[in-house]
């Protein structure tokens, strides 16, 4: 499903040339739950941005569901991102001016679903995550855990091929973090493919497989938990 080979990303300024990723090769198959672990500056975020089609890479190849993403224009990449990838962010990234319903609606709008289909999907996801009673609430009226559940509902509403989670519990207290992790594990159990980026080894340990990054390189591949 996600097949990266020899990916390199170089940031170039007038004075400095930084290799954010070097020769990264990674395959994620349908149904996998993979943690990408590494210290700050190891290239986790760059990997996430490239995997999420938010950033280009300089070398290598990236096939998403068999489609080579190199050379796609902005519109094609946006369409692919909308249809195949669900994002979960550390900071939830809900749009503060929109209520819960409208936040979950955002990716569905770009997909072009008719109104009835959008409504069905939104209500289904909100019910799934116990947010039916919060449908008209704004993000500022929700707890951190509730906001992250809305973000997960939003990520799943369009039935993406996989979830990209960036430190999904980083802004949560331990109880809420545990709840969100339980949710992710539940999603994995039901067949959802998840790639989770984290610096926290304890969190990574909850994933059946993990890869370790350091200085932009893969330095370890752990499938012991699987």
């Amino acid at each position: 499903m996600l097949d990266m080979k020899g990916i390199a990303r170089i940031y170039q300024t007038d004075l400095v040339r930084t290799h954010a990723l070097r020769d990264l090769t990674l395959t994620v198959n349908e149904g996998d739950f993979t943690a990408v672990v590494g210290p700050s500056g190891s290239g986790k975020t760059t990997f996430l941005n490239i995997a999420g089609l938010l950033e280009d890479f300089d070398e290598g190849s990236y096939l998403l569901d068999g489609e080579n993403v190199a050379g796609l224009n902005d519109r094609q990449r946006s369409k692919l991102r909308n249809e195949k990838i669900g994002f979960i962010f550390q900071g939830f990234n809900l749009i503060p001016d929109l209520n819960v319903f409208d936040n979950v609606d955002v990716p569905l709008r770009y997909r072009g679903f008719p109104a009835a289909e959008r409504k069905r999907r939104i209500e289904e996801q909100l019910e799934r995550f116990g947010l039916t009673g919060r449908i008209r609430h704004f993000p500022s009226q929700l707890s951190g855990g509730q906001q992250q559940r809305v973000a997960i509902a939003r990520a799943l509403a369009g039935d993406p091929r996989f979830l990209l989670a960036d430190e999904p519990t980083g802004n949560l207290d331990s109880a809420s973090a545990s709840g969100v992790l339980d949710l992710l594990e539940g999603l994995h159990t039901s067949g959802t493919t998840i790639i989770m980026v984290t610096h926290d080894p304890a969190l990574a340990a909850r994933a059946p497989s993990s890869i370790h990054l350091q200085d932009g390189r893969v330095v370890g591949n752990d499938e012991a938990a699987a």
Binding site: T45, R75, F87, I95, D97, V106, P107, R109
Partner: protein, 445 residues
């Protein structure tokens, strides 16, 4: 998606209402000032009779002083003499032709003692005046072009719609009688109403550009000859280059110009033929000792004549340029405000990009928002335009009322200009916002 974007725009504008108000104020103020001036220029410059302006020709004959032109550098006078008017009308070489001149008279209703007489603007003209200038009739018709009647054998009048409202309460007054009297004398004569005009207010009043051509048309129209035979007081410009002698007969035989003369020539051949006729006429007159200057006859169509008479004053054009610059300054302020607004939405833009929005769709979304601001600015601009025109009307008086009107074209133009300006102003901020790196925004939250 347009309704979705309109809804998002409404939410966004409501949330930042202070910033929204400032932007609407900036655009509204710019549009208000600009459209006030544009309206005046537009009404000054617009073709008053677009369907026929290229077929109606104003006649100038150079009967002026051999030692100096009527107007520099070598312009013939802008009116013609009674003698030439008679000759051209009698020859009737054009498809249609009319001389016309203005006068004033005291109007009374002979069958109504309670009616308060009033001083009316009279226009003496020939029968062709009405069909030539597409003058619409509400009741009756003009007089016939039969030579006897056209020179004023019958004492008939055509009333403007406003005058008919004033005299007869808007009823069909054909066949009713009024009296026209010289303001300086006590005598007056009966005139029979044969026609009432419908609404007719050409702006500028192109058929007579010799005085206040933005005022209303005449209130009463009479056969040309009646101005003289009834002893009405002429009110237009009269220019002479040599002494006239005493009395009306001497005046009519003089080189004084006081009559505007129009012809309708349907094609280039008719125009060429008529020009040849004018040259021949003047050449003949030269043999009789008139027209001492070199041959210098002119035929100008309506728009050429408006240009020649500088209907749009240079000051008005300069004012228009200043108004446009003011609008540009307002838009530059709007650009700054929009830039601040949209860059403040960086995080939302990052999220939307991550969720599948392309740069194009974000551009569309934010341009809808700027168009909405423009619409608000347009409505405010319309209100300010109306206030501006009303203020100018209060300053310049009712003579300028025909220039200080907002017609439907200008209303649509004001709103369209506001929306287009706002979108224009929004292009750069929107483009900048859409270039924001989503990855950086998502991480920074």
């Amino acid at each position: 998606m347009i309704f979705y974007y309109l809804r998002l725009a409404a939410i966004s504008l409501r949330r930042n209402w202070g910033q929204t108000t400032l932007m609407i104020l900036a655009i509204g103020l710019g549009i208000g000032v600009c459209m006030s001036i544009v309206t005046i220029n537009y009404l000054m410059a617009k073709d008053p009779i677009p369907d026929k302006s290229s077929q109606l020709y104003y006649v100038q004959l150079d009967n002026w002083d051999p030692n100096r032109p009527a107007e520099s550098p070598n312009e013939p006078p802008d009116q013609i003499t009674w003698m030439d008017h008679q000759a051209l009308m009698s020859a009737a070489k054009a498809f249609r032709q009319t001389g016309n001149a203005s006068a004033t008279a005291i109007i009374r209703k002979p069958d109504d003692d309670n009616f308060r007489p009033f001083l009316a603007r009279i226009r003496g003209n020939h029968a062709d005046f009405f069909p030539m200038f597409d003058v619409p009739f509400l009741y009756g018709t003009g007089w016939t072009s039969d030579a006897h009647r056209d020179w004023g054998a019958d004492q008939v009048v055509v009333l403007s719609r406003e005058t008919n409202d004033r005299l007869f309460g808007g009823e069909d007054s054909v066949g009713r009688e009024i009296t026209l009297g010289n303001p300086t004398e006590f005598s007056s004569n009966l005139f029979r109403v044969i026609g009432v005009l419908d609404e007719w207010r050409p702006v500028p009043r192109f058929y007579d550009l010799t005085s206040n051509y933005f005022s209303d048309p005449a209130e009463i129209f009479i056969p040309f000859g009646l101005i003289l035979s009834q002893g009405l007081s002429r009110s237009g410009n009269t220019n002479c280059w040599k002494p006239t002698g005493d009395g009306l007969r001497a005046f009519l035989g003089s080189e004084c110009v006081w009559i505007q003369y129009w012809t309708e020539l349907r094609n280039h051949q008719e125009k060429a033929d008529y020009m040849a006729y004018l040259d021949q006429y003047v050449t003949e007159q030269k043999e009789g000792g008139r027209f001492p200057r070199p041959l210098n006859n002119r035929l100008s169509n309506v728009n050429e004549w408006l240009d020649h008479e500088n209907v749009v004053q240079p000051e008005a054009k300069m004012l228009l340029a200043v108004a446009v610059m003011f609008l540009v300054v307002c838009l530059l302020n709007t650009i700054g405000l929009l830039l601040s607004k949209f860059l403040g939405k960086s995080s939302e833009i990052g999220v939307r990009r991550a969720l599948g929005a392309s740069r194009g769709s974000l551009m569309y979304q934010y341009l809808v928002e700027t168009a909405m601001i423009g619409f608000g600015g347009g409505l405010l601009g319309l209100l300010l335009t109306w206030l501006g025109l009303e203020s100018m009307l209060a300053i310049f008086g009712s003579d300028a009322s025909n220039l200080m009107r907002l017609d439907l074209n200008m209303v649509v133009a004001a709103v369209a200009l506001a929306i287009a300006s706002a979108i224009g102003a929004g292009l750069y901020p929107t483009w900048r916002a859409c270039r924001i790196d989503p990855a950086a925004q998502l991480k920074s939250q």
